[in-house]
């Protein structure tokens, strides 16, 4: 028998009184079940009480042993019993640890087993099966290790206690700041990193006492000093490794991106937002604002799933970042001016809770923020609140945009209603007014607006209405069963992409009054409309499978002339800018503006919709 097991065996024998106490507790659930109040469901009473008692006892015994098994012996000068024997510190620590953990679990079993045998299924329904046991095991281990460390620190009464607590606080802060940047790129990887650091800390907690005993031996203060040294140096090493890993993870330049997952192009100017995944970096999404003219890139921490908003003049980009790890649904608005060289990223201090949205004014000077129950407008230069209003609880918001600098228009429905209500928040008067409503046929309504903001289209029902009053102008023959994309074009026509057969989509062009003007057959299963050029050409991306990856392989881009009903150009293996999902107005592109796309290898290229020329993306700096 190894020394570890000999010590474990000896320690276990010492704990026979704990088992006697557990045996007494095992009777309590059966006695409690005799109480008249429990008569109607005795199995439930037995299982519930036994479950509580067994778990509480196991965890309590783990804590009690953690505080006494080493620190208690040190304080009572009993550790010399082991150190005068031919046993290693590792054998002492692991022998005692095994005994403590086994004691806790035996206590659990003593209380739980009779109730389990008596109630069977009721036990499983009330407390769960092996998973619950696994959680209990983890809980017992953690309780034991933590209480051992705390007990050693506190019972030594050494001056190091203050340093320990400062370092513990610093560790928590360091973990926070290490994991936080990962959260912006991948919640999954942030969680995995947190778990990995947690596992490393548990291993440290389990191994550091060996060093404690090897260097501190039978003196409590020296033991504490040795434990602290082992603990904090290894914790620092883990944090250093994690920090270096995170630094490497987030240090991706745009040219390092192996896969492009999102490309958003500013309606004017040369700015583009891209996000993608670097090689060997899991699903961590890096996001950048890039000036396609100069190649200058700015790393931003916009979560890839939300992207950025560009003002219509292309001079301002704005995005949301999670505020903290603990409050993952609270976001802060960040902005960057795109028309000024070296303009900094600005944290506005404007926060948004829940899963609302925000919109920029056409000139990028104001932002409207939609929260769960209110709407507000802020001036970006000063971060001043200009106007705010309650928009009612539990209303479903579909779209929000600035028809002009002073007015924000909001489209929403009361909960479970098919009525779309239109509101305007006017900054100058601080008034929030309902200006109209539309009876839709759906509780969810995708809304598209004309470029001048005068008309809207309810995509699901095909209703074309006055954007402010909701007065119905036309009704398009829409079907919601097929995937489609819609856009209201600057000449007043409306484009609707609708799948009519496998790998075939029709782009229907309607006049402003709802008359079908023409249909254009597109050879693709799905189509999204990226935007419209100044000359009225539509830029669309087609693809045959939704899960066709993040690159341009298998995709194609179309340059469509809706006025003539022709496809002017088809570019294979390119994935173009995504549509503007939050601003209901279609993206506008200047004539000849280089459009950014991902090619078949997932690399960025620019292409010219007029000439079809594809050029490598200027290497971002």
């Amino acid at each position: 028998m190894s020394h570890t097991l000999v010590i474990a065996s000896r320690e276990l024998r010492e704990r026979s009184r704990v088992f006697l106490m557990a045996s007494a507790m095992a009777v309590l659930p059966f006695l409690a079940a005799l109480v008249p109040a429990a008569r109607h469901d005795r199995p439930l009473a037995i299982a519930g009480i036994a479950g509580f008692l067994s778990v509480a006892l196991a965890l309590g015994v783990a804590v009690a042993q953690g505080t006494s098994t080493i620190a208690g012996d040190l304080v009572e000068r009993r550790m010399s019993f082991y150190f005068t024997k031919p046993v290693s510190p590792a054998a002492i620590w692991f022998g005692k640890t095994i005994a403590a953990l086994v004691t806790s679990l035996i206590c659990f079993a003593i209380v739980a087993a009779p109730a389990f045998l008596a109630t069977g299924d009721q036990w499983r329904q009330t407390l769960g099966g092996p998973r619950m046991l696994a959680f209990l095991g983890i809980g017992v281990v953690l309780m034991f290790l933590f209480s051992h460390v705390l007990s050693t620190i506190v019972r030594s009464r050494s001056g190091l206690i203050g340093i320990d607590f400062v370092l513990a606080a610093a560790t928590v802060a360091a973990v926070y700041f290490i994991v936080r940047p990962v959260l912006f790129g991948s919640q999954g990887m942030a969680a995995m990193l947190l778990v990995a650091i947690g596992i490393a800390f548990v291993v440290i907690l389990a191994a550091a006492p060996v060093w404690q005993l090897a260097r501190g031996r039978s003196d409590i203060r020296r033991s504490h000093a040795a434990l602290s040294r082992a603990l904090w140096t290894t914790v620092a090493a883990v944090l250093l490794v994690a920090g270096v890993y995170v630094a490497w993870l987030v240090r991706v330049s745009p040219s390092d991106l192996a896969e492009i997952s999102d490309v958003e192009q500013a309606p004017a100017g040369s700015a583009v937002f891209i996000s993608g995944v670097g090689s060997m970096r899991g699903d961590y999404q890096s996001s950048f604002l890039i000036d396609t003219a100069s190649g200058r890139a700015t790393r931003i921490q916009a979560p890839a799933w939300w992207g950025v908003r560009f003002s219509q003049d292309g001079k301002v980009a704005a995005w949301l970042q999670p505020v903290s790890l603990l409050r993952r649904v609270e976001f802060e608005l960040y902005t960057k001016r795109l028309d000024q060289r070296d303009a900094p990223v600005v944290a506005t201090g404007i926060r948004k809770g829940g899963f609302g949205t925000f919109a920029l004014s056409p000139d990028g000077t104001r932002v409207a923020v939609l929260n769960d129950s209110n709407i507000s407008v802020h001036e970006l230069a000063t971060h001043r609140l200009l106007a705010a209003a309650s928009r009612g609880d539990r209303a479903n918001a579909f779209a929000m945009f600035f028809p002009n600098r002073d007015v924000v228009r909001l489209y929403q429905s009361p909960r479970n209603s098919t009525r779309v209500e239109i509101y305007e928040l006017v900054s100058a008067t601080k008034s929030f007014t309902k200006t109209g409503s539309i009876e839709s046929q759906s509780t969810y309504n995708g809304i598209r607006a004309s470029q001048d903001g005068s008309r809207i289209l309810l995509s699901q029902s095909g209703i074309v209405a006055d954007a402010k009053t909701g007065a119905i102008v036309a009704k398009l023959p829409m079907a919601t069963s097929n995937h489609f994309a819609t856009a209201m074009l600057r000449d007043g026509t409306i484009a609707v992409a609708k799948r009519v057969a496998p790998k075939r989509t029709n782009l229907s062009v309607f006049a402003a009054d709802g008359t079908l003007l023409r249909e254009i057959a597109l050879p693709a299963h799905f189509v999204w409309i990226s935007g419209e050029t100044e000359s009225g050409k539509l830029i669309a991306t087609g693809y045959d499978r939704i899960s066709s990856g993040h690159d341009g392989r298998g995709r194609k881009m179309f340059v469509i002339d809706p006025a003539r009903g022709t496809i002017d150009r088809t570019m294979k293996d390119l994935k173009g800018p995504t549509p503007n999902f939050t601003d209901p107005r279609a993206n506008r592109f200047r004539e000849g503006q280089p459009l950014v796309a991902a090619n078949a290898e997932g690399k960025l290229v620019t292409w010219n919709a007029s000439t079809g020329a594809v050029t490598p993306f200027p290497s971002p700096r």
Binding site: R10, S80, F83, K85, P86, S218, R221
Partner: protein
Amino acid sequence: MTAIRAANVTIRYGKRTAVDDVSIDIAPGSVYALLGRNGAGKSSLVRALTGQIRPDRGRIELLGRDVWSDRAALMERVGIVSEEPDAPPEMRVNELAWFHSRLYSRWTQSAFDERVARFGIARNARIGELSKGQKKQVTLALALAISPELLVLDDPTLGLDVVARKSLFEEVIAHMADFGITVFITTHDLAPVEAVADRVGILRDGKLVLDEETETLKSRFRRIRFASQPVALTTANLITATVRKWGSGTEAVISNYDDVAFERFRDGAQLNADVSPMSLEEIFIAVSGEEGA
């Protein structure tokens, strides 16, 4: 190879120095007695000698190996009787024996059984139920049952009755020494030590103020009583450890007594002086006492 070698050992607890630059060499097969008043640093030195604490300075070797780095291996060859019995009070005597039998390759069950029986201790008695003396006896039986090459006894007679003390010194320690086992002992029980210790060390305030063969020590210390007033013993190159009034005369303890030198001095000074040898206990008091040299 020495059985115990401590070189310039210093042990501190915070700002307090418990052991101050102590060096000891103990030959194999000898009995070494370390004496000192309470708080002199004996237990700290013993804890360092047994690898339980690391000296802040200096190095300790047992049986030729560094005790700090090779503690676990060395403890296989070293029997230890601590000042305070440290066995868990819930354990029974036979459980303790079982525990030791699993840890020590040289464990001899019969030797343990025999000693425990001789001490009159029940094998199923719990340690917590035993008297302090009985606990010491059980610990001693455990330490001897591993056939140690070195026996470290930290105040082993504390709590023992007169018979048990006599047994410990005359039968056990002397017996061990006869078999070539080195014995390191700290004790307040000086009379029996005198008979068995080959060498004696005295700690005072953490410093080793004396480290000498017992016989040499006893031969150089003498008590001299003068009927008259104090005289200048230094003129005869005699060093006084203590000088105090004795009746109408003076009593001096000489730490470098020499018969020839003293006789010459006494004859020359025509002194009426009574010279008597000193016990180890008297020497200890003279050396470690407050007024000592």
